[in-house]
Every structure is written in structure tokens, then in C-alpha cells.
Symmetry: C2
Subunit: 159 residues, 2 copies
DNA sequence: ACTCCTTGTGTGATGTTGTTACGTTGCGAT
DNA sequence: ATCGCAACGTAACAACATCACACAAGGAGT
């Protein structure tokens, strides 16, 4: 039903690099252009491995000495979200790199309220129940997201 | 499993009045004070019967000629959310009066992207699946919300 | 009645998040 | 070469949310 998603630490450099390569493939296939700027934004999200606000991304982009306006970041984020490479966590007004870019719609997120780490899973059962509910009430369902809040294993043991 | 929630039109005056009375009972039982201001905010949300931004509520409060600051509205909304009389729809940064104040945790919302009407349901199956997922990954689950987007029956036929 | 304490309110300033509008650049296709 | 389109740069602004601090109302204990 659902693969539990690791909050555990792991080889970041490797996972970032792999994800970037996968993203390049995906964009090429979709005929979308993963420009240096967009790529950099994705990289920033992948490196942090947790949800970042747009303005956090902004300031990290700025680190390179370039002056950057919000628009730029939002455009890049919109693109990445449209490609399914990034998700927006509405609860936090923040963005997180997708850890399973191939899978279908209806993601579920476990969001740590302390460190903003985000684990992503797919709850197929939910999709079904919701489809049924929508059908009963005549609602044309286009999109669903489940956001759960709590403490990740790390912050839990720290507390 | 889930009672589908009506998008259909119905007797507003009546449903608003009933809901206000129910809210008064609930607050009395909880030892919480539903002051005129808080009551008025709830009434505004109930009347509109869709998700309103804090500043929309603000301007309707202002209609009465009183000058009102955001703080006031946010305080009232925080109170109402804490009492479970109002939900925040994170996706919209907006608030909606709860249509089933007695029920448990883990609400699901069908949000119309056109008119912001919101139907609320309870998906018990989801809660179970999520509990399991959280347990597997060592996550201390505290709270979950499902937000779905699409078109309500009204906007659907209008389109 | 008087003080103390808690809870709610009034007000201004400020911080954060997200968008609009408009002009420029780079690059491929006719 | 020039047209058209997508991406980018820049500035201003709008929408959403919080902070800090002062005041008012009402109950509890003396």
C-alpha cells in the first residue's frame, strides 16, 4: 500500500546528484527546459532535504553574489511543481523536492513541525475513497494532497 | 464510510442560526467564551458558506462602520479554530465554518477552485492507513488534513 | 470594596509570502 | 534578418500574518 519513507540520514551528495540526473531525463522527455536557474533551485531543495520557503531558496540563490527577486524563484518553483519535481506544502507555505518523481497523483506528506523534514508517500487507498466521495457529491476532482503534521523520529528523540 | 457533503443550495438563514446556537452550546460546555466579536466572525463565515480570507472577514466586520485591524480577526479565527468551529484551508490561506463540529480528527475537504465552496467529509479509512504509515516510519502523528481541489457541481455546469 | 490575576480588546508597526506589470534577452524557425 | 516565443530581470505592490504594548472587563480571594 505505502512505502514508508526514510527520515534516516543517508548519502546526500549521491542522492542529490542522482535526483538531478533523473530530473534532466524527465524534462528532456517532457520537452521542458531545465535551465541552469531552475536546476539550481531544484538542487537547493534537494540539498536541504526538507521544506524551504521561497525566500529561503531566494537567499541561497543570492549567496552566489547575484541579486535576486522573488519573481525569479517563484517562476522556477512553478516550473518544477508543474513538472512534478517539487511539491508545495501548503501548510508551511514551503516547497520540497519530490522523492518519487515517477509516481501518480495524490501524495501524502508527513511533515515534522520542528525541523520541517518531509517524508512523502503514496496512499492509494485514499485516492479510491476520495474518488467515490467526489462522485457521490458531483464534484469534479482534479487534485488531492494529504498533509500530516507531527514529529519526525529525530526530533522526537531529541525532545 | 463518509457522508457526502452537500454543495447544494439550502435554507441559509436557518442553517446559520442553528449553527450559531450549536456553537454557543459547545463553547459553554468547553468553558470557552463565545464573545460577540467571535460570534460575529463565525456568523460571517457561516453566511458565506465558503472559504473566506482573513481580510475578507475583516472587511465585512468593517461594514458595520467600526475600524478593525487584522489582529482582531486572526485572534477570533484562532479561537474558533481551537474550538473546532472553523477550519483553515491551507491551500487557500482561507477559513471555512465547520459543518460537522462534533466529529473527530482528520477531516477531508473538497474545495472548488472557482467559487471556493468547501464540502467537508470524514474519511476514516485514511486515518487508519496513515496511522500505519506513521508507525512504520517512527513518525509521531499529531494531525492530518486532506485537501482536494476541483470543480463543485455548480461551477461545473456553469462551465 | 480592593487588589490581583486572567482573558479579551484596541492600535500601530512590521514581517512574510506571493503577484503584477513591463521590458529585455536568447534562440530556433521561417 | 526578423519574427515569435520562452525565459529572465527589475521594480513595485498586494495579500497574508504577527508582534509589542497598552487598556478594559470580570472573577477569586482577601
Amino acid at each position: 500500500m505505502a512505502t514508508p519513507l526514510a527520515f534516516e540520514p543517508h548519502d546526500h551528495a549521491g542522492c542529490v546528484a542522482d535526483a538531478l540526473i533523473a530530473a534532466e531525463h524527465r524534462c528532456r522527455e517532457a520537452g521542458a527546459r531545465l535551465t541552469p536557474q531552475r536546476r539550481r533551485v531544484l538542487e537547493i531543495l534537494l540539498e536541504s532535504h526538507r521544506a524551504l520557503g521561497a525566500y529561503e531558496v531566494l537567499s541561497r540563490l543570492g549567496d552566489q553574489g547575484r541579486s535576486v527577486q522573488p519573481t525569479i524563484v517563484y517562476r522556477a518553483l512553478d516550473f518544477l511543481v508543474a513538472q512534478g519535481l517539487v511539491h508545495k506544502i501548503a501548510r508551511l507555505s514551503a516547497f520540497v523536492a519530490c522523492t518519487r518523481p515517477k509516481s501518480g497523483h495524490g501524495p501524502a506528506f508527513l511533515v515534522c513541525r520542528e525541523c520541517r523534514a518531509v517524508a512523502e508517500a503514496q496512499l492509494d487507498a485514499v485516492q479510491g475513497a476520495l474518488d467515490m466521495l467526489a462522485k457521490e457529491s458531483g464534484f469534479a476532482l482534479e487534485l488531492m494532497v494529504l498533509e500530516a503534521e507531527g514529529l519526525c523520529p529525530g526530533c522526537r528523540s531529541a525532545a
